[in-house]
């Protein structure tokens, strides 16, 4: 079967599932079992979303949220990628940081919010730190696993061709661990995206999609809440499928290092 037809079919199946879910919701909203203010119909939610898109407010909120996520994610990658690789290469580094990671990892990132507010006050710093914390561990563990999964034969062959530590790192270990590194990046983004909305509800002063949802509760604006939720889902979907999916296809799938499911 051709790839294009395959993609069309998968899009069709995905669309069908969404359509059924939307129809069930719409039927429930119109049944009168709940007050319309709590369960607005989909056309109303869509109209709110379109209005907010047209006046640009939701885009501005989304931009703030994205900025926090990408900033925190970049920090997390900058720390976790080298550290995870060092952990995989050097026994003492692994012995020092692995127990530390195991102890810190189970603490939900949102549990840090009050502590961070105490230390840094309300605002961007807290949200970025929460994102950093959420993204750090998936990236760290995947980088660590990735290094340990590098085929020793590649290291041996590279060594025989005169590769020193620096070349081994950039030209063998990083590409060799890339299936794990990309999986780590994906998981880190997802955790970060989930964490940022929570952090914004608790710590953001007046911008961000999380804050919009939390603020809308004051005015019983269920349509605004649902429109923002749709926006959160949409941006997450775009990143997951388009950004990370494309990175994966351009690298590890193209190199045959991971197989695509049939």
């Amino acid at each position: 079967m051709s790839a294009a037809l395959d993609r069309a079919q998968s899009a069709y199946r995905g669309g069908l599932a969404l359509l059924v879910a939307a129809a069930v919701y719409e039927a429930l909203a119109r049944s009168g079992a709940f007050p319309p203010a709590l369960l607005p119909t989909l056309p109303k939610v869509a109209a709110t979303l379109v209005n907010q898109l047209l006046d640009g407010t939701i885009l501005e909120h989304a931009a703030f949220t994205l900025y926090r996520v990408l900033f925190g994610l970049a920090l997390a990658v900058a720390v976790a990628l080298p550290l995870g690789i060092l952990m995989g290469r050097l026994r003492p580094v692994e012995h020092f940081f692995l127990p530390l990671a195991s102890a810190l990892m189970p603490i939900p990132s949102l549990a840090w919010v009050p502590v961070f507010i105490l230390w840094f006050g309300l605002g961007n710093t807290v949200a970025i730190l929460v994102v950093f914390y959420a993204a750090l561990f998936p990236m760290l563990l995947n980088a660590w696993s990735g290094v340990r999964a590098v085929n020793p034969l590649w290291l041996r062959a590279a060594g025989a061709m005169g590769a020193e530590e620096h070349a081994l790192f950039w030209k063998v270990i990083i590409p060799g661990a890339s299936p794990f590194i990309i999986a780590g990046l994906r998981q880190a983004f997802l955790r970060a995206w989930i964490a940022v909305v929570g952090a914004e509800m608790l710590a953001a002063s007046d911008w961000g999609l999380g804050w919009v949802i939390f603020d809308a509760k004051e005015f019983l604006n269920a349509d605004v809440m649902l429109a923002s939720l749709a926006m959160i889902g949409l941006i997450g979907f775009v990143f997951e499928r388009l950004v990370f999916g494309s990175i994966e296809h351009a690298t590890v799938v193209r190199w045959g290092m991971v197989q695509t499911a049939r």
């Binding site: 590649w154 062959a157 590279a158 005169g162 590409p175 690298t251 193209r254 190199w255 045959g256």
Partner: protein, 248 residues
């Protein structure tokens, strides 16, 4: 002076159940441009010996000298080809794999691609320069590995059962190709195999090793004219003689 010399080389593995000698007091010399095959059953220490020559293992006693200098680690004077197809870097094209050693040597981009293309032509893969390894067959991947090991122009080529995982037809084709490559490049080759016919087809000289502990049992010169015909009487006689040495 021989190009490669092994002087009383011994390798002893420390295992939980005691010290196991893998290679015991092996000595031999290999002349420049000689094609030497090391033949023996699994466990005879032939791969260990190759890894010592490559510098991946340090012998417990004795030493290997190449061009008179003792081997202390791997170096660009030796190219190595392994059995496993996975030795190629999957994230690099065939050309990218072949340029790796030249890149490490600091050769400029245009020059190393030119040199790599020449090596790919030598193994008849010039059309596949831009292919990634997972799009190549096992035999083609091993040819890329040979081109990669030759690209930075080492004087010694070390091969550890490079064709053992190929089907019989492809293996025959690879052996003929390797014989041509050797005739053109005149490298000193050390080739490890458990396949007696392969050794008779390729080698100037065959070392027969026996296991427990790994020892050289016979040193046999193959005086057949090239290209060799595996169906000729002389060929089969050589094969029979090697098998006789291998029999316990």
């Amino acid at each position: 002076m021989p190009h490669i010399e092994a002087a009383n080389v011994a390798l002893i593995y420390d295992t939980p159940s005691g010290r196991v000698p893998a290679v015991e007091d092996v000595s031999f010399g290999i002349e420049t441009s000689e094609f030497l095959c090391i033949v023996g059953p699994s466990g005879c220490g032939k791969s260990s010996l190759l890894n010592i020559i490559a510098g991946f293992l340090t012998p417990t006693r004795g030493e290997i000298r190449i061009g008179g200098r003792p081997v202390t680690g791997h170096g660009l004077d030796r190219g190595v080809v392994f059995q496993d197809f996975a030795q190629l870097f999957p994230w690099r094209t065939a050309l990218g794999n072949v340029t790796f050693g030249l890149e490490m040597k600091g050769v400029g981009k245009a020059e190393r691609e030119e040199l790599a293309r020449r090596q790919l032509a030598l193994v008849k893969l010039e059309k596949f320069a831009q292919s990634y390894p997972h799009h190549l067959s096992g035999g083609m991947q091993q040819r890329v590995a040979i081109a990669r090991a030759l690209a930075y122009n080492p004087s010694v080529l070390l091969m550890d059962e490079p064709f053992a995982a190929l089907d019989a037809l492809t293996r025959d084709e690879m052996q003929r190709l390797l014989a041509d490559v050797w005739r053109e490049t005149r490298k000193t080759v050390v080739y490890v195999t458990h396949n007696v016919a392969e050794a008779v087809f390729l080698a100037d000289r065959v070392l027969v090793m026996t296991p427990h502990p790994g020892k050289v049992k016979a040193d046999v010169r193959i005086e057949l004219a090239r290209p060799r015909n595996p169906l000729s009487v002389e060929f089969l006689e050589h094969q029979k003689m090697l098998l006789h040495h291998l029999a316990p």
